[in-house]
């Protein structure tokens, strides 16, 4: 009996370790996207401001994935010979949205408004890293509660430690 409990404890600990190993080292931080889109070219080399494409960041909870019309606004003319742009154009011709793969994900029980953070003057870089140098977008923050709170503490956010500020 005693041995059985011991086995269960060892198995349990191993289970938890396995779970976290997967979570920390094997999750895809920079998944392959349907279009080989480079933030480096757009935000870095050409200095396009973030909110030119992520149009809702200042007005809504979500920053907004650029709509296909926005892409085609420029790429009807620019770089039409590139095979990646031709992929975008083919989505547009088929009248289909581009199925981007999500990189930053928060669970449903967290209320995170982009609007509040952008309006408070938090730079996009603070959470999303140096996007301007990324050829493929990569997750740079853990998005865990401790990480949120450390910033709320540093910036002395009003009610920044209140449960209901984020869990409502």
């Amino acid at each position: 009996m005693k041995k059985l409990i011991l086995y269960a404890v060892v198995g349990g600990i191993a289970f938890v370790i396995g779970y976290f190993v997967n979570d920390q080292f094997f999750s895809d931080r920079a998944p392959v996207q349907p279009i080989n889109f480079s933030h480096k070219i757009h935000a870095g080399d050409n200095q396009i401001p973030c909110q030119y494409c992520h149009i809702y960041a200042e007005r809504s909870r979500v920053s907004g994935v650029p709509n296909v019309k926005r892409c085609m606004g420029c790429h009807q003319i620019i770089k039409t010979d590139s095979p990646e742009i031709q992929k975008v154009a083919s989505y547009w011709d088929k009248k289909e949205p581009i199925p981007w793969v999500k990189v930053y994900n928060l669970p449903d029980h967290v209320y995170f408004p982009h609007k509040r953070h952008v309006r408070a003057g938090v730079d996009c870089k603070n959470c999303h890293g140096d996007v301007a140098s990324m050829a493929r977008i990569e997750k740079v923050s853990s998005l865990q509660m401790g990480w949120c709170l450390s910033c709320h503490t540093k910036r002395e956010v009003k009610n920044g430690h209140d449960c209901w500020t984020c869990h409502k």
Binding site: I13, I17, G18, N22, N67
Partner: protein, 747 residues
């Protein structure tokens, strides 16, 4: 440690870590995608809600709503604070209208019957085919000169859609367009027609009254316009000025009764006599304000004679009479315990006479007639009854029947033999969005939108003694392949052709509605005030939810001719007392109403306010009666009338007369979706069919029953543990007089 054990640990550790790793892998959102808009809609910001003003159509009250829409999906419905009917409130039924929109049991496409009638077996067809099939049927009818054999039966529609439907039927050459609803309050409307000259329900100014005598009107949960009345009631109790008093006369304590200062459980069927006895006492004591026409009639109803008939002590009748006449203003309202009997018209007239004698008509805090419905109110045609439809069907006078919104198969007693009559109708079409019991008899179904997807308007009746016109606007794109009800009529008219198409020329219902409002606008000078033409008015009305004008004070007198409808006898109940010892009171339950709410899970899981029962039917029996029958709570019993038998579990309810049992209406569906079907029992099934020859309303309180122990079956599921406090003083009470004293001390 032995080598063997070490290997075992390694093994277990490996398996555990592997399992954890795999779980971590699979528990991640599988390839979560970010799907952008192709072209972003200009008026949508993802994550930011848009609120649209509309009207709730789940009952006939016409409460204004605000619907929260995000990314094109309706998420929440709230009351419109600016709307004069509900002033920001909304009942459980209205809150659940999103569940009607997204209901998994909605009819998503036009259907054609496959199996035998009533089997519910249907095949999907296209809209084109559906409209062509129905039109072909109608064209054939017309070519045979049998236009009169076309009938349209709908729920009590009002406003523009009612006019369009009427136009369709009359252009086709038929005169058979009727409305049907279980709670149309036709007796009350007829009584008001014969006493005050308008076939409508007046505005009961509960807000400003100081003594409210309600004859079984459960106005805080289901009666007529519950949100409006509840709001008024709150102000009457806790607004400015002195707290008003509420006295409820009814055999079964309703939610409103539970809120009352006094409960008068008069004998079922005699409440109208009690009203007349109160009126007579007022006259006899010289407290009457207007009794000239009534002195003679009322002298027959002496309090001392009525006391034993009504089972209310004579002192109590006298005390009520004095208080009713002396408290200014006072108000009596004729609810179900006078108007739901076979002589319901008489009962409602009795209450009108009581109001007239006490001088309550046309005064603030009394009965305020609604004179102005902008010419668009719900017209009640007393000649159109379900019995007329049944006899026409039996005499082969109906060849084609179109049904929308009404569910008479569920809400008429088996004794009416409606289903048998429907089987003789060669072709039935339904425009319903749900497979209710009546729609299940249809040969073809052309599903209409729910109110959150459709255009429309509403002219609430009863209003608030001021003109009110509200607009129903689509707040979301249609979820399924359904069509606007108005568009179905318009497209059908086009398909039928001839003078029907010639009469109905609007391209779609949205245009038809707007043109109708343009007419309303040009006729009504108050509407034009402060607007820059019709477009400006229309946009503002859409934003606000409609248009409402200033209050108009109307008055009326109770015509002495009304006395001819007074029966002066208690209402009869079917069944001999010896065989069937209990009066049966079927009542409208807060959530299900006439059964329409039973397919919405939120309403099923909403505990009944008095019993806390969920997901089922129960029968309320006085604990003393139950003890004498040897029954305890939860026991399954058969409730048997001369017309049939249903079974339900017992709920011990001290708020009911020992000689009465009550069963809520609304469950016991044989169709109507997964949440409603096969749950509980329908008390209407075992009623006699006693339709009033004048008003056409069928009496609900009309039979006696006997209770016998039944087979074990359904469980009684309720939220409350016990109704008793066991001396723990959980609810602390203080009497009104004591409270008044305390208040004085504080001040």
């Amino acid at each position: 440690m032995k080598r063997r054990d070490f290997l075992k640990f390694i093994g277990i550790g490996g398996v555990g870590a592997g399992a954890g790793f795999v779980l971590g892998k699979v528990s991640k959102p599988p390839g979560a995608k970010l799907i952008p808009y192709l072209i972003p809609p200009e008026d949508i910001i993802p994550g930011v809600a848009t609120w649209y003003a509309s009207v709730c159509t789940l009952c006939g009250a016409g409460c204004g709503t605000l619907v929260r829409v995000m990314e094109g999906r309706a998420k929440k419905v709230e009351g419109n604070p600016g709307h004069p009917i509900n002033r920001g409130g909304l009942c459980a039924l209205g809150q659940s209208s999103v569940q009607a929109l997204y209901n998994p049991d909605r009819i998503t496409k036009p259907l054609k019957r496959k199996g035998p009638r009533g089997s519910g077996e249907y095949a999907e067809i296209t809209w084109d085919e559906a409209l062509k099939t129905l039109a072909a049927n109608l064209i054939e009818l017309k070519s045979k000169n049998e236009s009169e054999k076309f009938h349209l039966l709908t729920s009590p529609l009002g406003g523009t859609i009612d006019r369009l439907a009427g136009e369709f039927v009359s252009a086709f050459g038929s005169s058979n367009y009727s409305h049907y609803g279980l709670f149309q309050r036709k007796n009350l409307a007829f009584a008001n027609l014969s006493t005050m000259g308008t076939a409508s329900i007046p505005h009961y100014d509960i807000e400003n009254t100081k003594y409210l005598l309600s004859f079984g009107a459960d106005f805080s949960s289901t009666w007529v316009s519950p949100v409006n009345y509840s709001n008024g009631y709150g102000k009457m109790r806790q607004g400015t000025g002195e707290r008003g008093k509420l006295v409820q006369v009814e055999p079964r304590l309703s939610l409103t009764g539970a809120n009352a200062d006094e409960w008068v459980p008069a004998k079922p069927g005699t409440e109208a006599l009690l009203a007349l006895a109160i009126a007579n006492t007022i006259v006899e004591k010289g407290l009457a304000r207007d009794a000239s026409a009534w002195r003679g009639v009322l002298s027959r109803y002496k309090a001392k004679d009525m006391a034993s008939i009504c089972d209310v002590p004579v002192e109590r009748i006298e005390a009520m009479a004095v208080e009713f006449a002396r408290t200014r203003p006072s108000l009596a309202i004729a609810g179900d315990s006078v108007s739901s009997y076979e002589n319901g018209i008489s009962g409602a007239i009795a209450v009108n006479i009581l109001n007239q004698v006490a001088g309550n008509i046309g005064v603030i805090g009394g009965v305020m007639p609604n004179g102005d419905d902008l010419g668009n109110g719900k017209k009640i045609d007393f000649g159109r009854k379900i019995s007329t439809l049944i006899s026409a069907a039996n005499a082969d006078k109906i060849k084609t029947l179109i049904v929308y919104g009404a569910n008479p198969v569920f809400t008429t007693p088996k004794a009416a033999r409606l289903e048998e009559a429907l089987s003789k109708v060669p072709f039935i079409a339904s425009f319903s969005s749900f497979m209710d019991e009546t729609t299940a008899h249809a040969d073809i179904i052309l599903p209409a939108h729910t109110s959150l997807e459709d255009w429309g308007d509403d002219f609430p009746d009863p209003g608030v003694a001021a003109p009110v016109a509200s607009i129903i606007q689509p707040v979301v794109s249609p979820v399924f392949e359904t069509k606007s009800l108005g568009d179905i009529f318009i497209e059908l008219a086009r398909a039928v052709g001839g003078n029907v198409a010639g009469k109905i020329t609007a391209p779609n219902f949205a245009e038809y509605l707007k043109a109708s409002w343009k007419g309303l606008y040009s006729r009504n000078r108050e509407m034009a005030a402060g607007t820059l033409g019709f477009e400006d008015f229309w946009n503002k009305a859409l934003q606000r939810g409609g248009w409402w004008g200033p209050s108009r004070k109307m008055t009326a007198t109770v015509s002495a001719r009304a006395g001819e409808h007074l029966t002066g006898a208690p209402a009869r109940f079917e069944g001999e007392e010896a065989q069937y010892p209990f009066y049966l009171i079927p009542y409208a339950q807060t959530a299900y109403m006439d059964g329409r709410g039973a397919n919405l899970p939120w309403l099923q899981e909403l505990p009944d306010p008095m019993t806390s029962v969920v997901w089922g039917t129960w029968v309320e029996i006085n604990p003393k009666t139950a003890a004498s029958l040897g029954l305890k709570e939860g026991d399954m019993v058969n409730i048997e009338s001369p017309f049939g038998k249903i079974s339900a579990p017992v709920y011990l309810y001290p708020g009911i007369r020992p000689d009465t049992v009550a069963v809520p209406i609304g469950q016991g569906h044989s169709h109507y979706g997964r949440y409603a079907k096969g749950r509980g029992a329908n008390p209407i099934e075992i009623l006699p069919y006693k339709e009033d020859p004048l008003s056409g309303e069928a009496a609900l309180n009309s039979t006696r029953v006997r209770i016998t122990r039944g087979a074990t079956g359904e469980r009684l599921v309720k939220m409350e543990g016990s109704t008793k406090e066991f001396g723990r003083g959980i609810v602390q009470t203080v009497s009104p007089s004591e409270f008044k004293r305390m208040k004085k001390e504080v001040v």
